[in-house]
């Protein structure tokens, strides 16, 4: 036996190299303790300049958790004004940067978490463990991924259009980040109060198509080009049902502003069923349409043809590596969060609590709980539903979802004129159900279900 060869017995007895993976709870406790100590130290140092100001703000924020972010921000600005005597324009800039920094860090953390949660959940669905080596329960996996992505070589193909190749990931990420600015995260927590917020969302959603095209064309690769073409065709088709479903909500709430739409869903029926639009027949159908179209818009399974691994390598991202690929990845996830946040705002009551006796939980927590529930649903769908075929994909959009979108708008109008209640419920339910059944029949005739034939493996 050669000395370099390891014996199976000695391998089993080797001590674990990874303390974090072996003792997840103690590692987590250590981490939290370290964060608390550092935070307290920073707070103490900042307090030396103007004693009591910052601590007062923190105590006030703890007393009123529902408004805590607003109180903390006001406290910090007040501290800067009195202790460091900043000029008004500096305060204005700081205020803007506080909001941007908070949004970026919150969604950055959610993005890092989701990249792990998705792999874990898919692994469980497929009867595997998933990443579990880096840190407690694999919690440091996103960190390891980030280091790997940043240190990888950035490869640009020789025949590529270098400018387009560089600009494409940026063109994808910027609209996805901008959409985050208009979501109402809680009572009084809209970063930019825009009267035409819904329009802003769709206008930015439309610009991502340009980014996909730039990636597909700039890579000078047939897989990239095919993927980009599929992706653009899919995005154009599924934008229409997305728009139609949102239009029904805009009609009934009488406003294009996300904040007004959330306040239109305030209150409870029988003091326990919330007034969310998803609990009406048209709203339920609209929500399903919106969510399905959202999956297609963010190129997720079962609509992931543009980047289907078995056919197109990675679609328009085939020729990307390293950090540019990471930016694409990030744009895709942030886009998914934004569109799920929009579904929450439009149909699931935004930051309103689902039950009256749960209103003590702050609104922004409810918003993120609902958003993450939708993200988990998307992951679940990805793990369980097979990829669609190209012609089915287009037929589904144009022959089923768009007519259903018009039915939803009609049902919403009927609901409005019946004034809700039992007659409105019945009438709009009939208007949604009849085209659903009829379209189902038509689609079933056109695409009859038959036994799958394996042309080459069965003879």
């Amino acid at each position: 036996m050669l000395p370099t060869e390891t014996h199976p017995q000695t391998q089993r007895n080797r001590p674990a190299l990874n303390f974090a993976a072996r003792r997840p709870w103690s590692t987590l406790a250590l981490l939290i303790a370290a964060v608390l100590v550092v935070g307290a130290g920073v707070l103490f140092l900042l307090n030396l300049k103007a004693p009591g100001l910052l601590t007062g703000a923190v105590v006030a924020a703890m007393g009123d958790p529902g408004q805590a972010p607003l109180i903390l921000k006001a406290g910090l600005l007040h501290y800067l004004e009195t202790a460091w005597s900043c000029a008004p324009w500096m305060l204005e800039l700081t205020s803007i940067f506080i909001v941007i920094g908070t949004l970026l860090s919150v969604f950055g953390v959610i993005f890092a978490l989701t990249s792990l949660v998705e792999r874990k959940m898919l692994a469980r669905i497929q009867n595997r463990f998933g990443p579990n080596r880096a840190g407690p329960w694999g919690l440091f996996q996103p960190l390891a991924d980030a280091i790997k992505m940043l240190t990888k070589e950035d490869i640009v193909p020789t025949g590529a259009d270098k400018v387009l190749h560089l600009l494409a990931p940026i063109t994808m990420l910027v609209p996805a980040l901008l959409v985050l600015a208009i979501l109402p995260y809680g009572p009084g927590m809209v970063p930019v109060e825009l009267g035409v917020g819904i329009l802003f969302f769709f206008a930015l959603g439309a610009t991502t198509e340009v980014g996909v095209f730039m990636a597909g064309w700039g890579s000078n690769n047939k897989y990239s080009l095919l993927g980009a073409m599929r992706s653009i065709a899919q995005m154009i088709s599924y934008e229409i049902p997305l728009f139609l479903a949102a239009l029904a909500v805009v009609m009934l709430s009488g406003s294009l502003s996300p904040d007004a739409i959330v306040s239109a869903q305030d209150g409870y029926v029988f003091s326990f069923v919330p007034h969310w639009f998803v609990f009406t027949p048209w709203g339920f159908a609209g929500f399903l349409l919106f969510f399905t179209a959202a999956l297609a818009e963010s190129n997720r399974s079962p609509f992931d043809l543009p980047e289907g691994e078995s056919e197109l390598v990675a679609g328009h991202m085939t020729e990307y590596s390293g950090f540019k690929y990471a930016v694409f990845f990030m744009a895709e996830y942030i886009g998914l969060f934004a569109i799920c946040g929009f579904a929450v705002t439009l149909f699931l009551g935004g930051w309103h609590a689902p039950l009256p006796w749960l209103e003590w939980i702050p609104g922004y927590l409810w918003f993120f709980i609902k958003l993450y529930a939708l993200v988990l649903l998307a992951i679940w769908v990805r793990g369980t539903v097979p990829r669609m075929r190209g012609d089915h994909l287009m037929g589904f959009a144009w022959k089923f979802m768009i007519p259903m979108g018009f039915a939803v708008i009609l049902a919403a109008a009927v609901w409005h004129y019946a004034g809700g209640g039992v007659p409105g419920w019945l009438a709009s339910a009939v208007i949604v159900l009849m085209p659903y059944l009829a379209l189902g029949r038509v689609v079933a005739i056109q695409y009859p279900a038959s036994r799958r034939v394996y042309r080459f493996s069965e003879s």
Binding site: A203, T207, V210
Partner: protein
């Protein structure tokens, strides 16, 4: 501060739009021309936003960037020439007609702008137009044109579907 910021923003967006417009005409590669056109559309949308016309600005983005620019790219994708660069006719022969057309368009636009009542200083500032007012005008006073446009678009859609069906059968 505010007006200074607006002037800087106007200069930046305006120069970007103008530069992209020149690039859209002057570049050799068709794809680059199409993408420069998209940048022009984005710049115009930015100018609308500077004028506090949010609705028109976002509609500009939605229609021109989301539909027209994407259509241009789709046409390029579908009719992709072998070498990637579409053969352009001789440029020297285009110079005189091009200059004439540009001068004509400039004169017409100049005349129209100079005759516009909004250039006169004594006209009172119009009240801010809300989207609600636009919507109500569309479904009350201008209902007939709106429906006519709807019929036109439906006809176009049905026509497109018919063309596609013929292609599917291989006729």
């Amino acid at each position: 501060m505010n007006s200074l910021f607006e002037i800087i923003a106007f200069l930046l967006i305006g120069s970007l739009t103008l530069g992209a417009a020149v690039a859209a005409v002057g570049l050799r590669d068709t794809v680059h021309c199409g993408l420069s056109l998209a940048v022009v559309f984005v710049g115009v949308a930015g100018l609308y936003l500077l004028l506090d016309a949010e609705f028109i600005g976002f509609i500009q983005l939605l229609v021109y960037v989301g539909a027209v620019a994407v259509l241009v790219m789709f046409v390029i994708l579908i009719t992709r020439p072998e070498d990637g660069v579409i053969q352009q006719p001789d440029r020297r022969r285009q110079k005189l007609p091009g200059a004439l057309i540009a001068a004509g368009i400039f004169l017409v636009t100049y005349g129209a702008i100079m005759q516009s009542p909004s250039l006169r200083r004594d006209v009172p500032e119009p009240a801010a137009l809300s989207i609600r007012a636009v919507g109500e005008a569309l479904v009350s006073g201008h209902l007939l044109p709106l429906m006519a446009i709807g019929v036109l678009l439906t006809t176009a859609l049905i026509g497109a579907a018919l063309f596609a069906m013929e292609g599917e059968d291989g006729k």
